[in-house]
Amino acid sequence: MTTYADPVAIEQQLRKTQQEFAPNEARTSLFNLVVYVDGHDDAKLTEALNFLHGKRPSRVIIVRRNAGGETRADATARCVTDSNDKVLCIQEILISSGDDGAGEAPETWTPLLIREIPVFIWWLASLDGASLPEMFDEIADRVFIDSGLASDPLAFLGTLAGRVSSLKTPVTDFAWSSAAPLLKLTAHAFNAADRRPFLAELESLTFEGGRTAEVALYFQWIKTKLDWTGTNAPTGKVWNLKDEGGKPVSVVHRAPAPLERGFAITFKTRSGVTLKLSDSHEGFAVAEGTGLEKYTSVFRYQDTGEALLTEVDRNASDRLYNELLRSWG
């Protein structure tokens, strides 16, 4: 009989490795993180785990899909001493799923989970055809995805939106995490009492840069907040919407590209006022426009590591994201 990942042997191996770093006391793991990867986003995974390292002790199980050969498992730990002289370890178990695909089956790795702490699944692989989050309903406390990794993000979000009310396992979308600084920036720009009335007069909104999923979620947020109605449209096409008073508003996403490469968001009102928010590429965003004193605001893209850290600390999915999906259309 083949044993893909012998829990006893792996626990022994982890204990041995961890004791080399922390013979006395290590902080207890806070959560299990199971990451499904298929080789395309190794750099992102490495960056995220490096960011987590030294911040949150945890058990990370990496399931490498389509690794070829036989399914196999290996374990190691990396540890660091924190500011209170306590040792923090990330226990890493790598399951390489062989030609038989057995490593991908949850039953291969569920015995390796630490009980009584949360289980997060991070699907860092192609979303096409994956039954998410339903396939982890009995195991996971939350499933992390990135809707931007779908071949058609709008279709994916639309499908997810149709099921959001009946999902048993909450979903976190890293595309939404990426959009969060944009939301904050935009809210700030219209926060002043003398600029707030412009929101009721908007006639167009153009977003240049950013990935399809992030920008669609951003548009959906504004649409929901301002009670605009109408149907979403693909990248490059105009979303012909109507504002609260029934007046037309056109919304369009142009020149899609990773957000880190820069963006420009332009709002125009029917009275001819323009407000532009753009990235200065120096850790700031700039707000400028008609009759507006130009100002800068700290603006940082949230990288995957930061987003992951935020999500593992959080107890539930994002209420606003779920609301947006419910009103998707």
Partner: protein, 491 residues
């Protein structure tokens, strides 16, 4: 239209710091504002320093840069520091010079939100408040005006009332934010979550199940260079009237119906108003004060309080206070609250220990009668978290019982990146949330209780008990807990 506003997003604002050349600005206020800027909670704002020193805007910016250097600031890009510093301005003026306020009025005029931070010696408060009113900076046609008042808020009931009166001549109560930085601490706020966010504690949180509560806020260091200040305040004013009473009200208050500022604060006031007064005749029974004498703290020899710089050789200022207080409500009838705080003690520790009653029938004969009561300890400093003492069977053929601990440390669960208390509190003031600030009646209720003790002590001719620096306090304090067959928790 509400717009796109996020929660906790202040509208464009200007904050004026009176006493901007002082230590609080250097150590807390500028770092807190910079942190809010970095986290994106504040982007359209201006910081104006207002003080006597003949600084310029550039001097203030240079000084602020030095406040943001070294340590973790070293990793922050210079561009971000520069962008923050550009938001700083300075008015050099005495606090009674009308020209200074006129200049200030011009600078703050364009801003929607105006926050004034009084970080000067309290004697200057009335002058500043008066002048703000004179130039019309106490109100606005659009946006808002608020004022934060630093502690000490009075030195007894009369002076606290006087200050409240002065404030009320120029500001409405909902514009006044009396700060107590203790309420900005995560663990202190977590008392509310522990009590009202969990189903298991509240049913037990009353005199039927709780035997007594001990609150300890101990410091190992002496008064150091603050002898002059301490001579005028003493431990009762410096720690109990504000910080410890805040802790105590959160622990003892009834569940609020919601988390609106006035709902929470009204419940806190009820606790303060239910405190059984300690009158002169009971002063020896329910209070103990003391002064630290020469000793050793944290392995280092230290001199006694009377030998400290700025301290009168015949000073009767207390550096230690222990109190036994009672809250006369249905919930807390018969539950003594023991409070202990001081300087020059054996260890720096802040905690609350809730001791539960013994089971009504002791079926385990081998259970120790001492130390066997369940205790819930809320650790505030140095390591934040909870410990729950419960009894467990010692493995073996007989039923022997021994206390064991269930521990939870914040550092284990959330890492150590908690925001500074001032960050949270300033942000709250900017968005108009006064839940964590002290209301007028709260201040006056606490001073009513404290002033009685001060008056009782003033009539007490006995010398202050001394305690060795590095010890647990004066021997006399033991009598308080011994009155119900308890001991103070070990420091």
């Amino acid at each position: 239209m509400d717009g796109l506003q996020f929660a906790k997003e202040p509208a464009p604002f200007v904050i004026t710091i009176f006493g901007a050349t002082g230590d609080l600005t250097r150590k807390k206020l500028v770092p807190a504002l910079f942190s809010l800027f970095l986290k994106g909670n504040a982007s359209q704002f201006k910081v104006i320093g207002f003080a006597r020193r003949p600084w310029t805007k550039e001097t203030f910016q240079t000084e602020a840069l030095s406040m943001l250097s070294g340590g973790h600031y070293a990793h922050i890009p210079e561009g971000q520091k520069k962008a923050f510093l550009e938001k700083l301005d300075y008015v050099s003026s005495t606090f009674d010079d009308e020209a200074g306020y006129a200049k200030l009025a011009e600078l703050v005029k364009p801003w929607e939100g105006k926050l004034f931070y009084l970080s000067t010696p309290p004697d200057d408060y009335p002058t500043i408040i008066h002048h703000l009113g004179r130039v019309g900076l106490n109100k606005t046609d659009r946006g808002w005006v608020r004022v934060i008042v630093e502690k000490p808020f009075g030195r007894d009931l009369a002076t606290a009332k006087e200050l409240n009166e002065v404030l009320s001549t120029q500001f409405e109560e909902n514009q006044i934010y009396r700060i107590d930085h203790y309420l900005g601490k995560e663990t202190v706020q977590n008392i509310l979550v522990l009590r009202f966010g969990n189903g298991i504690f509240e049913p037990l949180w009353n005199s039927r199940y709780i035997d007594n509560i001990q609150i300890t806020v101990a410091e190992s260091i002496g008064v150091g260079t603050r002898g002059n200040y301490y001579e005028k305040s003493g431990t009762l004013r410096d720690m109990v009237q504000n910080h410890i009473f805040q802790l105590m009200t959160l622990l003892l208050m009834e569940p609020p119906n919601d988390l609106q500022p006035d709902t929470v604060r009204s419940e806190k006031v009820k606790v303060l108003k239910s405190l059984r007064p300690i009158t002169y005749k009971d002063i020896k029974k329910y209070t103990v004060r003391g002064q630290y004498a020469a000793g050793v703290t944290q392995g280092t020899p230290v001199r006694g309080y009377l030998e400290e710089d700025g301290v009168a050789r015949d000073s009767k200022t207390e550096t230690f206070v222990a109190l036994q207080v009672h809250v006369d409500t249905w919930r807390w009838e018969g539950v003594p609250i023991f409070i202990r705080t001081g300087k020059g003690l054996g260890r720096k520790v802040s905690e609350v220990a809730v001791t539960f009653k013994q089971p009504p029938l002791q079926v385990f004969r081998n259970q120790a009668t001492e130390g066997g009561q369940n205790q819930l300890i809320l650790h505030i400093q140095p390591e934040e978290g909870f410990t729950f003492h419960i009894n467990a069977k010692i493995p073996g053929y007989t039923t022997q019982v021994r206390p064991v601990n269930m521990d939870f440390a914040y550092g284990d669960a959330f890492g150590d990146a908690t925001p500074e208390a001032y960050e949270r509190l300033i942000l709250d003031a900017l968005v108009g949330d006064s839940t964590l600030y002290t209301r007028r009646d709260e201040i006056e209720a606490s001073w009513t209780f404290i002033t009685r003790i001060l008056q009782g002590w003033a009539l007490d001719p006995d010398p202050l008990p001394q305690y060795r620096a590095g010890s647990s306090g004066p021997e006399e304090a033991k009598a308080l807990t011994a009155s119900i067959d308890q001991k103070w928790r070990k420091l």
